[in-house]
């Protein structure tokens, strides 16, 4: 059994080294045989499942190699697959509703009283990250990395850099980071025109394709994201460490969700039309983040708080906490449990509205995406980890996540009073991790 594990690690070491070029492969073969700790691997499988909505599976493999002089190479592969149904933005109605799929090929019906969900959601994503970290002077560490992520309809390329300076016996660290992403979105069915009416009817009719094309602007669009991160870490005493961050993020380009629509309702709340959403083409968000870890006699408490605000009136509060409790060696193995609690609350974007009133003029920007509406969410979870052979760690994590969208004070005309405009979303998260 031990031999098999060592072989897996050796094989992965060679495979990882192969990505770096031929010379390193030869080197890796010899070091892998001699030195078992040349690479460290972290792997995880996660399953995420919402009740009646999206489910996702995600696999991560992270390989880390430490060289002499504390240079560190980190390579990460992430693969995920998404399937299921997602809210399309329209409101529930007392009658059956028919919607056209984002591709324009075919339609789907939603039963009376149900929140309209588009069940054609599916995607597979492959992501690669590489990061190099090294000391550049006494007490000065630099790091640089690249990122590539590809989905069926999405491509993201990114670079990042970070510099950190230690002082006061390495008790204090100041860091400055920068990252830039260039994303291209090629959604199925193309980019819809803002506020164009969703074409509904016989999609096999000879005129359908031409009519559908009239609701489109083009086949793709892009956006850039630039982040700056200023950090300060301070060791308080033997048991306590704190971190403070300030981040500034600019996103420019296509920020609209091409799959989301809004319902135009009359004064009785009855749907008259469905139109594609439209969001501003830039967003600036900022946040401050504080984290503290405290080591009790044996347990460790990790608490963080983030306050985020953007230029579209979204503000949010996030509290995240983990408590690590080592267990006695009842199975003559080191193990721990870690309860987790997270609370999140956000206010709505200024262009969020759950529907559009036909009697009022069309807004400049509007989205009914509940993810930018007023919302409260919490996560409660438990992780169990144990050390197995050779100090490898195996862990299991199970969490429950609940989002509760709330009414930010919109009047609900007529029949909209009888339907649920802000349905909750429940999700289960299950994860197995193995580090070797």
């Amino acid at each position: 059994m031990k031999t098999e594990k060592t072989n897996i690690k050796a094989a992965l070491t060679i495979a990882t080294a192969a990505l770096l070029g031929g010379n390193t492969v030869a080197h890796a073969e010899t070091t892998a045989a001699k030195e078992d700790n040349s690479w460290e691997f972290d792997s995880a499988f996660l399953f995420y499942s919402e009740t009646d909505r999206v489910s996702a599976s995600e696999v991560i493999l992270n390989a880390k190699k430490s060289f002499e002089d504390d240079e560190i190479l980190n390579l990460k592969l992430t693969v995920d697959a998404l399937t299921g149904a997602s809210a399309n933005g329209a409101v529930a109605q007392p009658t059956v509703q028919t919607f056209t799929r984002p591709s324009g090929n075919g339609q789907y019906d939603i039963a009376p009283g149900d929140t309209p969900l588009d069940d054609t959601f599916h995607d597979t994503r492959v992501q690669l990250n590489a990061q190099w970290t090294q000391a550049v002077a006494d007490n000065l560490t630099a790091s640089g990395g690249v990122h590539i992520s590809k989905e069926y309809d999405y491509l993201s390329l990114g670079v990042n850099g970070n510099i950190a300076m230690d002082f006061d016996r390495k008790n204090s660290t100041v860091s400055l980071g920068f990252s830039h992403f260039q994303d291209t979105f090629t959604p199925e069915g193309g980019i819809p025109k803002p506020f164009a009416s969703m074409l509904i009817g016989d999609s096999s009719a000879p005129t359908w394709d031409d009519e559908f094309a009239k609701t489109r602007l083009g086949s793709d669009d892009d956006k850039t994201t630039t982040d700056l991160l200023l950090g300060f870490t301070q060791v308080i005493n033997r048991r306590m460490i704190m971190q403070f961050n300030y981040s500034y993020s600019m996103v420019d380009g296509y920020l609209t969700d091409p799959f989301k629509i809004l319902t135009i309702v009359d004064d009785n709340g009855i749907a008259q039309d469905y139109v594609y959403e439209s969001r501003p083409d830039s967003r600036v968000k900022q946040s401050i983040y504080a984290q503290s870890l405290y080591h009790f006699d044996t347990n460790v408490l990790d608490v963080s708080y983030r306050y985020m605000w953007d230029d579209g009136e979204i503000t949010s509060h996030t509290i995240d906490s983990r408590f690590t409790i080592p267990l006695s060696d009842s199975f003559s193995r080191e193990s721990y449990i870690q309860p987790h609690f997270r609370f999140y609350q956000q206010s709505a974007a200024d262009f969020y509205q759950p529907f559009i009133l036909a009697s009022e003029p069309l807004p400049v920007f509007a989205s009914a995406d509940y993810r930018i509406g007023e919302m409260t969410a919490f996560t409660i979870g438990l992780k169990y980890g144990l050390l197995v052979n050779n100090g490898h760690e195996l862990s299991f994590r199970l969490e429950y996540y609940r989002q509760t969208p709330t009414d930010a004070g919109f009047d609900e005309p007529g029949v909209l009073k009888e339907v649920d405009l802000y349905p909750s979303v429940d999700a289960m998260i299950a994860q197995v991790s193995y580090s070797f």
Partner: protein, 76 residues
């Protein structure tokens, strides 16, 4: 001054106080036994963090803060 600004101030004041060099803070190199434990690192499980970031980036209007909150997927 809204709540947000008060919270910012509440966080920035101790930051400045800390940075201005209270000499009682910090430890000597030989006092790092507890701080050296995995559970005491600021990101005790990078894998869990990466997975969580992806979930919450896809489902909420906020991202980043602890690290970069950038793009990277078409999930939001």
């Amino acid at each position: 001054m809204n709540t947000g600004h008060k919270i910012k101030l509440a966080l920035i004041v101790p930051l400045i106080a800390t940075a201005s060099g209270c000499t009682s803070l910090g430890v000597e190199p030989w006092e790092r036994d507890l701080l050296a434990k995995d559970a005491m690192s600021l990101t005790s499980s990078p894998i869990d963090s990466a997975l969580d970031d992806h979930i919450y980036f896809s489902k909420e209007a906020s991202s980043g803060g602890k690290g970069f909150g950038g793009g990277g997927c078409g999930c939001n």
